[in-house]
């Protein structure tokens, strides 16, 4: 047990979301769903975070920001795309200002569908992300030992 899955800290970023998915994400922190039971903390700081939670489709302004934030997340890190827009661009996919979902900028590990994605689905997505995190952590450790 490495402990890495027991303390997932989240960085929540709204790319160009209508805020529907954001409200649902923040609802996970409320008493009804209470993700802090799982050790989840919503830090606003990429350097402290493990899971990069992105809502909304990617436009020109958010492209640079997502790249900057992604660079400032320490390894191992996991990207979770929450909602239809983050997954594939959703209803705005063909707009002139949208380049698509989050995977057009950074590699995504978990896609959470829905418009808006339900809190139960978001929590499920985060838990799936934890499995990916554990996997990446094992690979990181093996790579370090190989050196």
């Amino acid at each position: 047990m490495s402990g890495i899955t027991k303390s997932p800290w989240i960085l929540h970023y709204d790319a160009s979301s209508c805020n529907g998915c954001d409200i649902e994400t923040l609802a996970c922190l409320t008493p009804i769903f209470d993700v802090e039971r799982l050790g989840v903390i919503n830090t606003g700081n990429p350097k402290h975070a493990d899971i990069f939670l992105v809502t909304g489709a990617v436009n020109e302004q958010s492209k640079g920001v997502i790249q900057n934030l992604y660079r400032q997340l320490p390894e191992p890190k996991v990207v979770v795309a929450v909602g239809a827009c983050a997954s594939s661009g959703g209803i705005f996919r063909d707009c002139y200002n949208i380049s698509g979902g989050v995977d057009s900028v950074v590699p995504v590990d978990v896609y959470v569908p829905g418009c808006a994605a339900r809190p139960e689905a978001i929590i499920d997505g985060v838990v799936k992300g934890l499995a990916v995190l554990e996997e990446k952590h094992k690979r990181m450790r093996l790579a370090k030992e190989a050196k």
């Binding site: 990429p46 350097k47 640079g64 920001v65 997502i66 400032q72």
Partner: protein, 627 residues
């Protein structure tokens, strides 16, 4: 005996020689040779046992006294002329009053003025002589390089009067030696007045209107102190027919209290305590060696030296309580005021005033523990503050600015000077280095004697932390990578700076040795017992010092295992470093500016409170001394 006299006379002679030398090279030679000789002499003196048995004077006492009277008369006439020329009524009045008192004294005393041995050397004198010689010598060396750059590059519009400058530096050094070795009060007064004159001439060196104004202010306040000094001499002589400082210290309260109070008043003006702090603040217009020598390390120490000497007389009396209160109030207000300003020399000046306040507090309380703490404070403050002033001088020349905000990233831009500044600041504020240990000692002494005053110390101590760490942070932060300055400091300057850094280090490291070899014997000699550190505490402090000194070693790891990324700027980083994409897509650069707490503290208001408080406390002191 010859050594002592040589230490006093040699700098005077050197000063006269330097007055005649116009060229730089012979000046360098004389300064280096004399400084080395003085340092050697001081170290030799420190190895001799003390209090010393001093032999007969080589010249007749009578002849020396006549000589001193002549010089004093000349100085008095010069000051009168200065006062008349600048239409400064107060200077003229004070000088005339002082002259009148001294004439009255000469007529009263007659032959008595030649009795007794005029010199007295004990451990405390040796400590002050070491500070004067080593620190003062270092400053003279530094001044060679500094003043050359001052006149050739930084301030080409100021007339080059370096012969007079260096002459005054050495005359001053000789006067300080005379001051700490003198037992005869008129002799002490003679050297005291020389330092006043040197301070006046050196502050006004640049001859700008601002410099002239500040020089006159310094002169007025120091003359007020001189007047009370003269009155003290007359007062003491009339009661006891004696003129010795040691005699004064050992006389009973009934006789000695009023002269001691008047002498403390003189010490308070010399040490720029409330209400006289403004002259020291104003003296910062002078070139840096002046600020370092006169106004932090040596001349102002003469004031607190006198007060500490008189501590056994005033301890436990209302006079002593008032002196201690003046020191306490000055410490608090000085520390708070230093937070509000971003000009480096002003911060250092307020810090000097505050630390001298602590020493005055120790003197006013006057217990053996307090005096022990006070002497230690003098030692550490002299060394660390001098280092800081000299570093600020170098930085000012390279950056063309005295503003702390411009010193951002100095660790990359001028690494050696920045590290030395950090050493100086650590020496002033970080445990387990000297000043903090002294502050610990002061707290213990104050709590035993007068717990009420401790509130000033705790608040002032909290304030000092703020402005030192904020300055340290400004040096350490690196917003924009900078290229190094190739030639940071000239040879003369670097000798002095490295020497002082080593001295700061050694003083902290050898602190228990200093305490047991010099300070404790002196205090025990005066009080019969002395405050001390305690074996266990020494060990703890040594451990802590080792721990803190390991810190530079961590840089050897070279940043392995750490990946460097941009700072967090809301994800809007643009092109690395301090740039980010601002509104309307424009690329902005971040700047970081320290807090100066302007909404809470105001320097002008604090000064006014200090002056008001100081006046009230001193009035009470004089009243109780007379009654």
């Amino acid at each position: 005996m010859t050594l002592v006299l040589a230490l006093v006379a040699l700098p005077f002679l050197a000063g006269l020689v330097l007055l005649c030398l116009r060229a730089d090279a012979p000046r360098r030679g004389v300064v280096i040779v004399v400084t080395a000789a003085v340092c050697a002499g001081c170290i030799m003196l420190a190895c001799l046992p003390a209090p010393m048995e001093l032999g007969e004077l080589p010249v007749s006492r009578h002849a020396l006294n006549l000589g001193m009277m002549a010089v004093e008369a000349l100085m008095g006439l010069y000051i009168l002329w200065v006062g008349v020329r600048s239409r400064h009524f107060l200077i003229v009045a004070l000088m005339l009053a002082q002259g009148a008192v001294m004439v009255w004294f000469e007529r009263l005393a007659g032959a008595d003025a030649n009795a007794g041995h005029p010199l007295f050397v004990d451990k405390f004198s040796i400590i002050m002589a070491l500070i004067n010689g080593l620190v003062g010598g270092g400053i003279c060396l530094y001044a060679l390089g500094y003043m050359r750059e001052y006149h050739t590059e930084a301030h080409r519009d100021i007339p080059d009067r370096r012969p007079m400058f260096f002459a005054l530096l050495f005359v001053f050094m000789g006067a300080m030696f005379g001051l700490v070795f003198a037992d005869d009060l008129p002799w002490l007064f003679f050297f005291w007045e020389i330092t006043t004159l040197c301070s006046f001439l050196l502050i006004g060196y640049t001859q700008t209107p601002e410099a002239r104004k500040n020089a006159l202010r310094a002169l007025v306040m120091n003359l007020a102190g001189g007047l009370t000094f003269a009155l003290a001499i007359v007062c003491f002589y009339r009661e006891t027919r004696s003129l010795g400082l040691q005699a004064l210290i050992h006389s009973g309260h009934a006789v000695a209290l009023l002269p001691a109070a008047l002498l403390c008043f003189a010490g308070i003006t010399k040490a720029a305590q409330c209400p006289f702090s403004s002259w020291l603040l104003g003296a910062m217009v002078a070139p840096t060696p002046v600020s370092a020598l006169l106004h932090s390390s040596t001349m102002v120490k003469a004031g607190v030296y006198l007060i500490l000497r008189l501590a056994p007389v005033i301890t436990g009396t209302t006079v002593g309580m008032m002196v201690a209160s003046v020191g306490a109030v000055t410490f608090l207000i000085g520390s708070l005021a230093a937070i509000t300003t971003s000009e480096a020399k002003r911060v250092l000046a307020w810090s000097t005033v505050a630390n001298l306040g602590l020493v005055v507090l120790c003197g006013g309380i006057g217990t053996s523990q307090a005096v022990w703490a006070g002497v230690l404070l003098i030692i550490f403050h002299a060394v660390a503050k001098c280092l800081l002033f000299l570093c600020v001088g170098v930085v000012e020349h390279k950056l063309h600015s005295r503003n702390i905000e411009d010193m951002s990233g100095l660790v990359l831009y001028m690494p050696r000077v920045a590290v030395m500044m950090l050493i100086g600041m650590a020496g002033m504020s970080l445990a387990p280095f000297g000043m903090l240990i002294s502050k610990w000692a002061v707290l213990r002494a104050v709590v035993d004697a007068c717990p009420v005053l401790s509130v000033f110390i705790v608040f002032g101590s909290a304030a000092t932390l703020f402005f030192w760490v904020k300055w340290m942070g400004k040096l350490v932060e690196v917003v924009r990578p900078q290229t190094r300055v190739i030639k940071e400091i000239s040879l003369d300057e670097s000798l002095a700076l490295y020497g002082l850094s080593v001295a700061t280090f050694l003083a902290c490291l050898l602190f228990p040795l200093l305490s047991t070899q010099f300070v404790e014997p002196y205090v025990a000699g005066v009080y019969g017992h002395s405050g001390s550190l305690g074996q266990g505490n020494i060990i703890i402090m040594m451990i802590m010092m080792m721990l803190v000194m390991l810190f530079p070693l961590s840089f050897l790891s070279g940043g392995r295992g750490v990946k460097l990324v941009d700072p967090y700027l809301g994800g809007a980083n643009a092109g690395g470093g301090p740039c980010f994409t601002g509104s309307a897509g424009a690329v902005e650069t971040m700047t970081l500016q320290n807090y100066y707490l302007g909404s809470v503290l105001n320097e002008v208001w604090l000064s006014r409170v200090a002056v008001a408080g100081g006046v009230v406390l001193l009035a009470v002191m004089i009243a109780f001394a007379i009654l």
